[in-house]
């Protein structure tokens, strides 16, 4: 029998449908792969027993003829999604052994569609980080190596690593400033952040509410479409959820891009970006042209302000969102001499350095006397950034950009240099600020044999075109490299 973990989600679903193998066999194969890959540290909480129960139930459903969109597929869940009865940590110490009595809407949708959950995947603590090094459960190691351990990107590093290493057929992730796309770029996987409001945020541990958005990391563009179709959908429990039907995204993959206007934003050419990145980008433009797309030069003049805006808005919201972790009702509590002392000790011990840094930045920018200069101004510039895109859509249908300014870098290289770390989001953060869908597709290997990704950004709610363009890009790139299986 072929190695079932090498399958794409689409082919695995087909294989089960054709009764070539059962969900149990597929699940067992993946559990085996997970067990052998502990060196990657991709999981915080494996749920193999639960997965086998779900696979068994799925196989029974299949006999009775009721099958869902993800029927029997073993998948990973970023440990930012609350899962009923399964510990949810956000990779933090402060949540301790918090076990939610409720299920996030996204994971509930996937459960209802027949998902088998292999476990909760590692991430940066509270999704704050670009290298998956801020997790209090230790860093995730990228399956791709370059003589030394590399980071998988972040914050959805566990999701990206698990998919790249064939530990699961796909995984959920979340993206606040690039946390789906940058790790996808670093691991040779596909990751899409849909339009803000496509996926319900209900039950996802909040980082920055106006930017957070769930999406999948997958092996192929088609797999990403299948997963997102299950994850997305209107949810009255999230006031920012968009009440629009979920289209047939899977069907959009493979459609011709003839006549599609692909914008190339000139401001995404930046100083200090490795030549290889620009070269892959140029190659991507050629691929799209050859596929029949029309290439358009566009300008997004406020791009240079995107990172500063992001690092005001996101920490501001985070400082408030994380106020609830106070040791009073659940999670870690470190007793102090009085209430204020208990708060201080709990939060000092419970939050890692990066989370504390952002809570402090956020508290500062919202403070009386600084609010106007930072938060309010950032919101105004954010509007301008969104306007840039609206302007661009007059001359193009999607934008093509690099995903990240570098390939995966060594573990420990940037962790003590927050500014360097924050620069990772430079190409991705604009889509969050404007609420637009963005997808990263693996394009090529760099000189060191590490994957590089390209990003397609589309109009709000126009994931169909994004999937179409991404499909064309994927086809043209023909990226089929896999990391050496050094970990098992």
């Amino acid at each position: 029998m072929t190695d079932l973990t090498k399958l794409t989600l689409a082919s695995a679903l087909d294989g089960m449908k054709a009764r070539e193998f059962s969900s149990m066999e597929l699940t067992d194969a993946h559990i085996g792969a997970c067990e052998a890959a502990s060196g990657l540290n991709a999981f915080i909480t494996p749920t193999f027993d639960l997965a086998r129960d779900q696979a068994k139930a799925s196989d029974e459903r299949r006999v009775s003829g009721t099958i869902g969109k993800l029927e029997g597929a073993p998948l990973g869940m970023k440990d930012l999604f609350c899962t009923e009865g399964v510990r949810t940590t956000a990779a933090s110490k402060i949540l301790g052994d918090f076990t939610p009595p409720y299920e996030s809407t996204v994971s509930a949708n996937m459960k209802a569609d027949g998902m088998v959950m292999l476990g909760k995947l590692n991430l940066d603590q509270f999704a704050m980080g670009s290298a998956n090094e801020t997790s209090c459960f230790g860093p995730v190691i990228n399956p791709w190596r370059n003589g030394e351990d590399l980071v998988p990107g972040g914050s959805s590093g566990g999701s990206a690593a698990a998919v790249a290493a064939d530990l699961c057929l796909g995984a959920t992730a979340t993206d606040t400033g690039g946390s789906i796309r940058q790790p996808a770029g670093f691991t040779g996987t596909v990751g899409i952040k849909p339009t803000y409001g496509r996926c319900s945020r209900y039950g996802i541990v909040a980082f920055a509410s106006s930017l957070d958005q769930a999406g999948p990391i997958a092996k192929t563009v088609e797999d990403a479409a299948i997963l997102l179709e299950s994850m997305a959908g209107y949810d009255p429990k999230d006031s920012t959820s968009i009440n629009e039907p979920v289209p047939d995204w899977r069907g959009a993959v493979g459609q011709s891009v003839k006549g599609l206007r692909v914008g190339v934003p000139r401001e995404y050419t930046m100083d200090g970006i490795p030549k290889e990145i620009d070269a892959v980008w140029a190659e991507g433009v050629e691929w799209m042209r050859e596929a029949g797309a029309e290439i358009v030069d566009v300008s997004l003049p406020h791009t240079k302000y995107a990172l500063p805006v992001y690092y005001v808005v996101a920490p501001a919201e985070a400082s408030s969102n994380l106020a609830r972790y106070d040791g009073m009702r659940y999670g870690l509590r470190v007793e102090g001499e009085n209430l204020a002392d208990t708060y201080e000790r709990t939060r000092t011990e419970g939050f890692g350095d990066e989370v504390r840094r952002r809570v402090m930045i956020g508290t500062y920018v919202l403070s009386a006397g600084y609010y106007d200069a930072y938060y309010l101004r950032a919101q105004k510039v954010r509007t301008k950034i969104a306007d840039d895109f609206r302007q661009a859509w007059e001359s193009c249908d999607v934008l093509l950009t690099p995903t990240a300014p570098s390939a995966a870098f060594p573990v420990g290289r940037k962790i003590n240099d927050p500014i360097q770390m924050y620069l990772n989001d430079v190409f991705t953060v604009t889509a969050n600020l404007a609420g637009l869908p963005g997808i990263s597709v693996p394009a090529a290997l760099d000189g060191n044999g590490l994957p590089l990704g390209l990003q397609i950004i589309g109009r709000a709610l126009d994931e169909s075109t994004v999937f179409k363009a991404a499909g064309a890009l994927e086809k043209a790139a023909g990226f089929d490299a896999k990391p050496d299986k050094w970990w098992s």
Partner: protein, 493 residues
């Protein structure tokens, strides 16, 4: 917010100090709990007096990933209230987070409306006791969620938290600094209470804490520069509002006259000691770091939505009072009392239907309120219904019974012994109008009191004694007028 206070208090409301008169400037922030069965951002119930922590949705407890969803009913009630306050309804408003840490604030922030409240400026007219009507400006009304409750007295060294109130919808109604005496402040809160009760948007029950006030007090030389204000938090009865203002005004005057300065601070009113004391000073004031709540979309109200609420507004107490004066020719005082809450007004309108409004009013304000108050029963639960009281008044009008007998009958009705007719019938209370029977009794009484009858000729006042005797003989049933006339003629008066 910059406040101006152009109106100068009536001289009778000036407070005398050592250095001359002072004028009080008062503004109020009233927190009115929205009469809603569910909370502002969750479906959890809001029943009063439930077991601790039994009315708490996941979002009310601040669990990770839980999101608020605005309760449209509460928004409607805020708009209704705004319309009742003759106020501007803001078609665009927004929820903000007010950030601070406390054990009974599970999210670490309170969702409120800071920059863009749902209701803007308005005004209401109040009539302070013994004073002229005063117009009080409304600065704004906004929606916000209540916090939980910290319970410090269950254990000497532990604080317990009850989250039942966490997330309950409140309307914060902010007045302009338009009140100049404790009586005006008290009348203002009472007027607000009547308005929200008439609208049905708040139960207005101060004892249950669903209407409470933060009182801002300062003093100035009449018409002079505004002084520094202090805010007295959470005062929960009209009496305490008056007392707290009285105490606080005196405190300010004493400090100022001794050459001191008022510290702008937040104070608490100690109802036992009858004094206010510092809760926190300006230096300790929180920086609440308000910012728009990214979990919630701005509230955008359509004209249609507002118009539908407008069309459905009930008659408000002030309008009803005016109508009672006009339609029923009631004295101002009666109309005021009878329209002070909706149920009382409704009761009156039933009793007064096709009857003499003034007797209806007298019976309600006399016997009915007397008994209800003595037994601490609300008019909604009155054992004597409006129709039943009307039935009793009918028997007086058609002279079946006298007013005096009617009071006894009322008492029996109140005890649940039946309708007026049933009791009159059962106890044989029908007034005796048979002149023959009355004459026989009159003759008997005169015969038994010959001496007195003689004296009566010189002292006509004695007729009262004879009336009393005859009435006693008839067990009160004889028509007193007939008795009086017969006696006068028989005694030769």
């Amino acid at each position: 917010m910059t406040f101006i206070a152009p109106r100068v208090a009536d001289e009778k409301d000036w407070l005398q100090g050592e250095t001359g008169p002072w004028e009080l400037i008062i503004g109020l922030e009233v927190h009115a709990q929205v009469a809603s069965i569910a909370k502002l951002f969750s479906g959890a119930p809001t029943a009063f007096g439930a077991e601790p922590n039994t009315q708490v949705a996941l979002v009310d407890a601040g669990l990770p990933g839980m999101l608020p969803v605005v309760n449209k009913y509460c928004v409607e009630q805020a708009v209704r209230t705004g319309l009742g306050l003759n106020a501007q309804i803001n078609k665009f408003s927004r929820f903000d987070r007010k950030n601070y840490f406390y054990v009974d604030l599970p999210q670490g922030y309170q969702i409120s409306q800071f920059e863009h409240p749902v209701v803007g400026e308005g005004e209401i007219e109040i009539v302070p006791e013994g004073g002229e009507p005063v117009t009080v400006g409304i600065e704004r009304l906004h929606l916000e969620q209540d916090a939980g409750k910290s319970i410090h007295d269950l254990s000497p060294d532990e604080t317990y938290v009850d989250l039942n109130r966490s997330g309950v919808a409140l309307m914060e109604i902010v007045s302009k600094p338009d009140m100049r005496s404790a009586a005006e402040a008290s009348a203002y809160v009472d007027a607000l209470r009547q308005i929200v009760r008439a609208l049905g948007t708040c139960d207005g029950d101060m004892e249950k804490g669903n209407l409470r006030a933060d009182v801002n007090v300062s003093v100035r030389k009449p018409g002079g520069e505004l002084g520094t204000r202090c805010e007295i938090k959470n005062v929960n009865s009209l009496r305490f509002i008056r007392q707290a203002i009285g105490y606080e005004a005196r405190r300010h005057i004493e400090i100022l006259e001794a050459g001191g300065e008022i510290d702008q601070e937040t104070r608490l009113y100690d109802t036992v000691k009858g004094e206010t004391r510092t809760m926190r000073s300006k230096e300790d004031a929180h920086d609440y770091r308000y910012f728009p709540d990214p979990d919630l979309l701005p509230l955008e109200l359509s004209d249609d939505f507002i118009d539908r609420i407008k069309a459905d507004l009930p008659e408000l107490p002030a309008a009803r009072k005016a109508r009672f004066v006009e339609q029923f020719r009631l004295p101002d005082y009666d109309a005021g009392v009878l329209t002070s809450d909706k149920a009382t007004g409704d009761y009156f309108e039933i009793v007064a239907q096709k009857r003499d409004p003034k007797s209806a009013s007298n019976w309600m304000m006399g016997e009915l309120f007397g008994r209800l108050n003595a037994d601490e029963i609300g008019i909604e639960d009155s054992p004597v219904s409006a129709d039943a009281l009307g039935g009793l008044i009918d028997r007086i009008a058609d002279k079946t019974i006298s007013g005096k007998i009617a009071k006894d009958v009322f008492s029996k009705m109140f005890e649940g012994e039946g309708t007026a007719d049933e009791i009159i019938e059962r106890d044989g209370l029908k007034q005796v109008t048979d002149m023959g029977a009355i004459e026989a009794m009159v003759d008997e009484v005169i015969a038994a009191n010959r001496d007195q009858a003689e004296k009566a000729k010189d002292n006509p006042k004695l007729v009262g004694f004879f009336v009393g005797q005859v009435m006693k003989k008839s067990q009160g049933k004889a028509n007193p007028q007939a008795v009086n006339e017969l006696l006068r003629s028989k005694l030769g008066l």
